[in-house]
Structure formats: structure tokens, C-alpha cells
């Protein structure tokens, strides 16, 4: 599973939007911020809730369940109650396809 896999289409995601996709049982959130695409595990590291249910504010994703915040580019925690960084995936664009790499 070490290759880039297609997860979504460029046209699926508008600027400033975040959406959820699956590769097998793995939920993956993809967002577009200032034209760049970022992909991260779609589960808050606090209690596994779905992050893409929350709001995207620039590079910041805010979990709507308990208020935790992360940077979508680096995975860094920006606000409690989460303390563990978010898993972020390398992204590659190939035409209209968004590819990500799960290690």
C-alpha cells in the first residue's frame, strides 16, 4: 500500500471546502486551501469523531464535537482537548485526480 492512490477528483472539492472519502475502511479528508490540496485522516485524535463534519478556517480544521483544532498542512494540534497530532498524507495531483499516499 505504499503507492499513491486516487482518493478524489479536483472538481469534487471547491476552494475552502473539506470532504470525506474512503480507501477501504480508512476515512480520509481532503480539503482545498488557497488552491492547494491537503489530505488527512478524517478522525479527530481526541475521540475519533469525523473531522470533516467540522469547519475549515484557512489551514485550520475545527472539530465540531469537542472543539479541538489542527493545522491541515502539518497535522499540528492548535487547540485542546486533542493533544496528539493528526496524521497527514502526501498529496499529488494528476490531471483531475487527487492522489494520496498511505504508508
Amino acid at each position: 500500500m505504499s503507492d499513491f492512490q486516487k482518493v478524489a477528483k479536483v472538481s469534487d472539492i471547491a476552494e475552502g471546502e473539506v470532504q470525506s472519502f474512503f480507501i477501504n475502511a480508512e476515512a480520509i479528508a481532503v480539503c482545498r486551501v488557497e488552491g492547494n490540496f491537503y489530505a488527512f485522516k478524517d478522525e479527530c485524535t481526541h475521540q475519533s469523531f469525523t473531522l470533516s463534519d467540522g469547519d475549515l478556517d484557512g489551514e485550520r480544521i475545527i472539530c465540531c464535537y469537542h472543539g479541538a483544532e489542527f493545522n491541515v498542512k502539518t497535522g499540528e494540534v492548535l487547540c485542546l482537548p486533542a493533544v496528539e497530532p493528526l496524521e497527514v498524507y502526501p498529496v499529488r495531483i494528476d490531471g483531475d485526480d487527487i492522489l494520496i499516499k498511505l504508508d
Binding site: S20, F22, A25, A27, D42, S48, T50
Partner: protein, 448 residues
């Protein structure tokens, strides 16, 4: 014709009429009524949410948003040779085979012996031994509150039916093999098993789940067990399915007075696994021993949910669950001991031990005691760690190479649960497959 479910609650509720009209439902009319009743349970609950305390560690959004279909014709594309390859060498047993949730008659040894022991498919039994099946089917597994039991009750096509009459000890293990094949689209299968062991009787049942290819499907198993007075049952659940499968299973046991049950689970396959074990010690003086071993790697998620209900006095229960986790996998052990009012002199013990082989693996353990009686002895314990460095050092200092030392340590750890199996050929085969699994992990650089 495939019946397609898009993941929404409506699709599973509304799909039932299509299923009933499709000819896949070969069970008698009273089961149809049961199915209709059961689906309303799912209609009320849908798939559980994380905010539901019993599902706290497993996010099921993936089920809500993935399509599955009821499809396929059973045995047609599985050769007898393939079936034989899943056997246990040296084991003399009664073998029953199900392919994609449907009974495969030719490779199966149906049984109805002179003592009255029956081992056959549930769909046949529901017609031939209607009263017997009707007395027990769906009487224990709660299809109103549990959404997976509700779906299984609504959509099951077949499964095993085993009946041992009063006073008969059936020594030969019954090996029930559930094979999943690639049907070209993610399928939804619902094996349903019913095991009835009469008064002062005994049986050994091995449920064995395998896949012929690494494909995506949703397997939702429900097994109901009735253990009569003074009866002994040894039950195995061996789960070696596709690494991409969604595997949900429930074992619901009803124990009468002075009965004994030993349950062994070994979980190895599946992308998302939920293993529910729920014995109710309903009569006085029961004994329940529950052993489990789960091994995960990659991004596997294995959620073990135990609920041991002490409802009568003088019952003992023991739970021993060991987990070995590698890669980025996540394990869950959620064990609840419930002691009801009136269940005096309960003696319940629960142990969960976990070995983390990688820096990325994670374990969540939640051993719970729920006690409504002041005359009980209940303990629980959980440990989490890596291989004991001192022990490894000791072995190495005695001239054993590191790799071998690790294998010895892992064998000791996994044998804590496997050694309780009474069927030696199965125990040996499992030990081998555990070792093979671990050798593969070592080759990938894990197992520090």
C-alpha cells in the same frame, strides 16, 4: 439479481421487501414475520454513533457511506480442493460449508445420527424441525436494540443449526466453514447460527471464517447458543478473513443451571472488525471461560466487546484476552462484567494483556465492572507493553539468537490463550499460523 444498499438507514430498511421477493429467502413464513419485526429495530437505531458509549472507539461512518449488495449463488465457483485446504490435518470432524452465506450441500457432511444429534443448515432445519428452531431462534439475540443483530435477523440466508439432545455427549467437533469469494462487487453476507445443547449433554463447535481473495465485503454474523442444565459446550470462532473485509460478529450465549461454556476466539483478518461476546449466566452455578487472541497489522481495526452478565448466584466467569498489535493498527478491548441484584457469590475475573510491536499501533482498553450486589468477588486487570527487554536479554545471553528469542516470547504470550483449547489439532494449526504471521512481521522489520 443483486440487492443494493447504499449505506443509508433507509436503504437497509427498504431493501427488505426486495429481499423477501427475490427468492433468496427460503425460510418459512414465520421467519418472514420475524424479519419484518427485526428491521424496524434497525430503522430506529441505524448504525451506532461514536457518542454511543459501547461504540466509543469505532467510528462507523464508513458503513454509513459504503454500498454493499446481497449477491452471488453460493458454492458454484469454489472447488472441493479449495474447501479441503481450509481443513485441520488429523482432525476427525463433521464438516459443514457455507459460501457467501449460503449452504454448500455437496462438500458438507450433514448429520442426523441415531442418538438424535443434528448438524445441518438452518434454512433446512427451520422447515424440517420447525418447532425446535422456532423455540430458540431470535429468542436471545436482541434484534430490537442491537442494529447488527437486527440486520442479520432481517437478511440472513443461512447458517448452521446444531442440536444435541438431552444426555448425549457428542465428541466429534463440528467444523463449520464460511468461505467468502470475490463476487465482483462488495457483498453483504449474514451468516446466522443456532446451537442448542440439551440437558447434561456436550458438544464442540468450530466456526471458521475465511476468504478466497483479498476483497471488500461486509460480513455480519450472529450465533445464538443455548446451553442446557449441566451441559458443556466448547465454542471456537476463528476469523481469518480478507484484510479488506468488514467483519461484525455476535456470540450470544444463554446458560442454564450448572452449565459450562468455553469460548475461544482468534481474530486475524478484516479491515474493520467488531467481535461481540455476550454470555448470560442465567441459572445458578454456571461457569463461563472466555479466551481470545487478536492480532492486527497495517491499518486493521479490531474492536472486542465482551459483556458477561451474571444473573444468578454462585456463577464463575473468566475472561482472558490477549492482543498483539503491529503497524498502524488499532485494538480495542471493551469488557464489561455485569452483576445483577440477586447474583450473590459471583466470582468474575477479567484480564486483558496487549503487546505493541510498533510505535504506531494503538490499544484502547476499557475493563468495566457494573455491580448491583454487595456479595461478589470481581477483579479486572489490563496490561500494555512491548516485549520484555530483560527476558529477551536473558534468552540472548543463553545463546539464543534475537529473532528466535522474540519468537519464543511471542509464542509464550499467544499460548496463554491458545493452550486452553481442548482440540489439539486446531490448537497446533493455530500456533503455526500465529508463528507464520509473526515471522512475516519480523521480515517487515517489526517486532521490536
Amino acid at each position: 439479481m443483486a440487492i443494493v444498499f447504499d449505506g443509508t438507514r433507509e436503504s437497509y430498511v427498504e431493501g427488505l421487501s426486495e429481499f423477501l421477493g427475490s427468492g433468496r429467502n427460503t425460510l418459512p413464513e414465520w421467519v418472514t414475520d420475524l424479519r419484518r419485526e427485526a428491521i424496524s429495530g434497525f430503522g430506529n437505531t441505524g448504525f451506532p454513533m461514536l457518542s454511543d458509549e459501547e461504540w466509543r472507539f469505532t467510528n462507523l461512518d464508513v458503513l454509513r457511506r459504503t454500498s454493499f449488495s446481497i449477491v452471488g449463488n453460493g458454492i458454484s465457483d469454489v472447488s472441493e480442493k479449495t474447501v479441503d485446504s481450509y481443513g485441520f490435518s488429523g482432525l476427525s470432524c463433521v464438516r459443514l460449508v457455507f459460501v457467501n452465506g449460503r449452504f454448500a450441500s455437496p462438500p458438507s457432511d450433514e448429520l442426523r445420527d441415531e442418538e438424535g444429534v443434528i448438524a445441518t443448515s438452518l434454512s433446512k432445519a427451520a422447515c424440517e424441525y420447525s418447532d425446535l428452531v422456532r423455540n430458540h431462534l431470535a429468542r436471545y439475540a436482541d434484534y430490537e436494540k442491537d442494529p447488527f443483530i437486527s440486520l442479520n435477523t432481517s437478511y440472513f440466508e443461512d447458517g448452521v443449526f446444531i442440536y444435541v439432545p438431552d444426555g448425549v455427549v457428542f465428541e466429534k467437533p463440528v467444523h463449520v466453514l464460511y468461505i467468502s469469494t470475490d463476487e465482483g462487487q462488495p457483498m453483504f453476507v449474514n451468516p446466522r447460527n443456532l446451537i442448542v445443547v440439551g440437558q447434561s449433554s456436550g458438544a464442540k463447535v468450530v466456526e471458521h471464517y475465511v476468504s478466497t481473495s483479498q476483497n471488500v465485503y461486509f460480513s455480519n454474523v450472529v450465533t445464538e447458543v443455548v446451553c442446557g442444565e449441566n451441559a458443556n459446550l466448547e465454542h471456537y470462532r476463528l476469523e481469518f478473513e480478507s484484510q479488506k473485509a468488514f467483519n461484525f460478529s455476535t456470540l450470544r450465549v444463554n446458560q442454564r443451571k450448572n452449565s459450562n461454556i468455553a469460548s475461544h476466539s482468534v481474530l486475524c483478518g478484516g479491515a474493520l472488525v467488531r467481535n461481540n461476546i455476550h454470555p448470560v449466566l442465567a441459572g445458578e452455578g454456571c461457569n463461563s471461560d472466555i479466551y481470545g487472541l487478536f492480532m492486527s497489522e497495517g491499518r486493521q481495526h479490531m474492536d472486542n466487546f465482551m459483556r458477561v452478565e451474571h444473573a444468578s448466584p454462585h456463577c464463575d466467569s473468566r475472561q482472558f484476552y490477549n492482543g498483539v498489535l503491529d503497524g498502524r493498527s488499532k485494538g480495542v478491548f471493551h469488557g464489561r462484567i455485569m452483576v445483577h441484584e440477586g447474583a450473590e457469590k459471583t466470582d468474575a475475573k477479567q484480564t486483558n494483556r496487549n503487546l505493541l510491536l510498533s510505535d504506531m499501533a494503538q490499544i484502547d482498553t476499557k475493563p468495566q465492572l457494573e455491580i448491583y450486589n454487595d456479595d461478589v468477588k470481581c477483579t479486572h486487570g489490563a496490561t500494555i507493553g512491548q516485549m520484555d527487554e530483560e527476558a529477551l536479554f536473558y534468552l540472548c545471553s543463553r545463546g539464543i539468537p534475537m529473532r528466535k528469542a522474540k519468537i519464543i516470547m511471542l509464542r509464550a504470550f499467544t499460548n496463554e490463550t491458545l493452550e486452553n483449547m481442548s482440540i489439539s489439532s486446531i490448537r497446533d494449526a493455530l500456533e503455526d499460523s500465529v508463528m507464520q504471521w509473526f515471522e512475516r512481521r519480523l521480515e517487515n522489520g517489526s517486532g521490536r
